[in-house]
Symmetry: C2
Subunit: 253 residues, 2 copies
């Protein structure tokens, strides 16, 4: 039995999220189907985490294990031939025995793309925000997220037993190349369900003057999703990179 | 009568090109329709040049003239509200009397996007080229295009009377941010029908070793479209910027 690691890019608008669901297209199902055809044996694909319907990925990592012989180069080519153009397998690599895409991940990096201009060419991956929010104020507020916190106020899942503590390493808005385009970069050891979109929506509330930047500690302390702002739309969000302990090189293509 | 200048971005995959055609969606028709609604009077929209079906623009320039009163800020907002998300009006400005988007343009800049990696998120605007061509060889060959030449060998239109002389200011492939992504940048005073796509297709033939880099002068001298290579796909091509004599600032947003 050997374990393999996949590096995957996908356009989330074509899928109802990462996870297999009955009668709805998912990235996981598409990958398992293509792998079954390519390897002539069915395998289970485990992702580093679930992305919601509409959320994109440039650097999702997944693993599968099989006893079937695998030619890494040919498998990648076969998968890209079999998959729809909305999924691209950027890399297939052999992983150490027991490698687990979810449990072994040490850091996830998300980018959230926004613009204050009308945009036609990347409208499928950029939230058009009007009027222009105060980016500096939003960056000031984002500093309250750094470090270890209970992120229950930014989590959609209601189960009492789930661990909601995450350590945020950085969180800031940076201008992109084109005037009016901005990106929110947030890296943490783990993310909860709906967390980045809830954070972005809350920050934009702050940037529009509907909340104070220093209200974030109270929101965090409430552990109540109703205290945070509305979720930002899914289509602006991209899972950019997942990093593992033993990665000498970045996992991104 | 006042003349107005529009700066427009569009996703070419939603249109059968710039120019109005019966029963087919075109960018020009969409703009004229939106302007008629916004201004309550019909106007003709003249672009800096036509783009073919599937070709995108980030910086197309067009003009229209009207006696109707125009509030620039409100008109831009109305147009973006009326137009489909595949067209964005980046700017509406008053132009000097007699400004003509096509005749007054001094330079056009096109970008052609390619990749040697599978790509899911920008597959609608990037040509996947396999195997990887020799970029250095293609850049060597592209030098033959610089300066004033008869570009009949790279033109789809057959009329004998058309002027086919263009002056190319620069033409080169540059690597983009992500490994495996490349962009061809070409600027000239004017471009002929199908010219950039024919040039890119011919360069890729060279990069794949099917032609010699120093064969380009002969191809140019032939003035025969059959001597050049196949046209590269439309979806990789973006009209990036159009520059006018009096532009102090770039016309790009």
């Amino acid at each position: 039995m050997s374990t393999y690691r996949l590096l995957i890019e996908y356009d989330g608008s074509s899928f109802h999220g990462w996870q297999i669901q009955p009668d709805r297209p998912s990235v996981q199902a598409a990958l398992e189907e293509a792998l079954a055809t390519a390897l002539r044996v069915s395998v289970s694909v485990v992702g580093s985490g679930r992305t919601d319907a509409g959320v994109h990925a440039r650097g999702q990592v997944a693993h599968f294990a099989t006893e079937a012989p695998v030619n890494l180069f040919r498998l990648r080519r076969s998968l890209n031939g079999l998959l729809s153009p909305s999924i691209a397998v950027l890399d297939v690599a052999q992983a150490p025995d027991g490698f687990h895409a979810r449990y072994d991940a040490r850091q996830r990096l998300y980018h959230y793309h926004a613009t204050v201009q009308p945009r036609a060419l990347d409208q499928h991956m950029r939230w058009a925000i009007r009027p222009e929010p105060d980016w500096e104020l939003m960056n000031e507020a984002a500093q309250h997220l750094l470090g270890e916190h209970h992120f229950g106020a930014f989590c959609l899942t209601k189960s009492e037993t789930t661990n909601r503590v995450c350590t945020v390493e950085y969180a800031h808005w940076v201008p992109e190349l084109r005037d009016g385009d901005w990106r929110f970069e947030i890296a943490a050891d783990r993310f909860l369900h709906g967390m980045v979109r809830a954070i972005v929506g809350t920050l934009v509330d702050i940037g529009h003057g509907r909340r104070q930047p220093d209200s974030l500690p109270e929101v965090l302390a409430s552990r109540d999703r109703r205290e945070a702002g509305p979720a930002a739309p899914a289509h602006g969000l991209v899972l950019e990179r997942v990093t593992y302990e033993d990665d000498e090189l970045e996992t991104r293509a």
